[in-house]
């Protein structure tokens, strides 16, 4: 069982490494981290705390890990590769487990690299502007941001499995998290239970705390489990 998962994960890792779109997404995310934190660090509005600057960039960087998650599954369906995949690994649960593990590896690497690049860029930019660095915020927020980036992309994996295509999954996931969620947040306090807002507590403090970072993480995990469970059920029941 474990060995089957391990082999499936190794296969999926090899497949992902061979996708130009995945490499472009990883480099794009790291590049975006550099540009956005650089822009924030030179902007005049109170930027002298590198950690805080990097955390402000996280809402943009999540597009990167969401895209990674969608690509990990969605590309199987663009030219019928899924048929080959399922012929080689007939157990559907193993395929999804392998894909999820491969995604987790890539997303963790991307998130860590992007956040580290962001921190470095901010420090260099602040140093060249001769701004004295006040203090680094608590570093656990950076760890929280990395965890958030990896988990939110799992929603992309789940939605791509449900929609069986790249573009619809991208549209749904990105617009729910980046467009719908802020629109609702302006108006109803219940928006704090949406995945982006609840998970955001992992790296941004809430001015009026109702959820703690831990409960926020649990809410986000709940969203991942519900959509992921739906995706697993659909993937097992449907024809490929």
């Amino acid at each position: 069982m474990i060995r089957a998962y391990g082999r499936a994960a190794a296969t999926e890792l090899a497949k992902l490494s061979g996708l130009p779109a995945v490499l472009a997404t990883v480099l794009g995310t790291i590049g975006a981290a550099m540009v956005i934190t650089g822009a924030l660090a030179v902007s005049p509005v109170g930027a002298d705390e590198p950690v805080a600057v990097v955390l402000q960039a996280v809402p943009y960087l999540q597009a990167g890990t969401i895209s990674l998650g969608v690509l990990a599954v969605g590309t199987e369906y663009t030219d019928g590769q899924i048929h080959t995949t399922l012929r080689c690994v007939p157990d559907r649960l193993t395929v999804l487990a392998g894909k999820t593990l491969a995604y987790l590896a890539w997303a963790t690497g991307t998130a860590v690299a992007a956040l580290a690049t962001g921190l470095l860029t901010t420090r260099v930019t602040l140093a060249t502007r001769d701004v004295p660095v006040v203090t680094d915020g608590p570093p656990e927020n950076i760890v929280g941001a990395a965890v958030y980036l990896v988990l939110i992309g799992l929603l992309g994996v789940a939605l791509a499995t449900l929609t069986r295509a790249v573009v619809p999954a991208l549209v749904v996931t990105l617009s729910l998290i980046l467009v719908v969620s802020p629109a609702l947040d302006a108006i109803t306090p219940h928006a704090r239970y949406l995945p982006g807002r609840a998970g955001g507590l992992l790296y941004l403090p809430d001015p009026a705390p109702v959820l703690t970072p831990t409960t926020g993480l649990l809410v986000l995990l709940g969203w991942v489990v519900v959509t992921g469970g739906g995706a697993v059920a659909a993937f097992r029941r449907r024809d490929a």
Partner: protein, 261 residues
């Protein structure tokens, strides 16, 4: 093929893509649904006598804060109109691409692109004509008598939102001509269609950011919702965004003519 025939063909092709149905649904039902939730929240805050709970209390703002979700629909429409041509069929049915058929039927490349632009523009206009009046009526009906007096310029802001959607769709179309694949334009444009776009970020850096297409265009409808101080006047913003769109379309035309399909 005459130009009206080309336009008719492009309208039929674009309108019958499955993704177009989804995009139109998002562009129409998305703003209406968000408006509904917004308006119910505003009404609850007004009735409980605590209007400070919500970011705004006017039914009009409840509608215009829902415009970005319609922008997503417009982006999808503009992207799939082009990327659908380049998507290869499955290998077991020949692996062909529709663009070869399209250009065989209509060898004039600029004609094809103009036809696509007209088709996309028309479809987005239809979506806007349904979505925005419906959202305004819905918000007015829900908040009703509790609402503060209606601010001026609702009509011009509504028209502005529709124009913003059309120009965004045409920008998406032009960008997809460059990339010939829908994934990158979808990611960038959907991320940027939220009210907290990358351009808002750049506006902290330089006042020139207000001339970027999305920030300039948002001034047509966003009013106070725009988290940005030095926005252009609505009309100027519209002209700036239209200029960007025209420029990108011209560039797309040049690239489309010059490259192999």
């Amino acid at each position: 093929m005459t130009f009206p025939n080309t336009v008719a063909a492009e309208i039929r092709k674009t309108a019958t893509l499955p993704a177009t149905m989804v995009a139109l649904t998002v562009a129409v039902l998305g703003p209406v649904a968000i408006t509904l939730i917004n308006a119910v929240g505003v009404r609850a805050a007004l009735r409980s006598g605590r209007p400070e709970l919500t970011a705004y209390t006017s039914p009009v703002e409840a509608v215009f804060s829902a415009v970005p979700i319609g922008t997503v629909g417009a982006v999808v429409l503009g992207v799939v109109a082009v990327s659908g041509e380049y998507t290869a069929n499955r290998a077991n049915i020949g692996g062909g691409r529709q663009i070869t058929t399209t250009l065989t039927a209509t060898p004039s490349r600029l004609g094809v692109l103009a036809g696509k632009a007209i088709a996309v523009g028309l479809l987005v206009a239809v979506a806007a004509l349904v979505a925005i009046p419906a959202s305004l009526a819905l918000a007015g009906g829900i908040i009703g008598g509790d609402a503060p007096p209606t601010p001026d310029g609702v009509l011009s802001r509504s028209v502005g939102a529709g124009i913003y959607w059309m120009l965004t769709a045409l920008t998406a179309l032009a960008v997809t001509v460059f990339t010939r694949n829908g994934i990158a334009p979808i990611i960038v444009l959907v991320v940027n269609s939220s009210l907290v776009s990358v351009s808002v970020l750049l506006s902290h850096l330089t006042p020139l950011a207000r001339f970027l297409p999305d920030l300039a265009g948002m001034s047509m409808f966003a009013g106070d919702l725009l988290a940005f101080d030095e926005a252009l006047a609505p009309l100027t913003g519209g002209v700036v965004m239209a200029t960007w769109t025209a420029g990108l379309l011209a560039l797309a035309g040049a690239v489309f003519r010059w490259r192999d399909a």
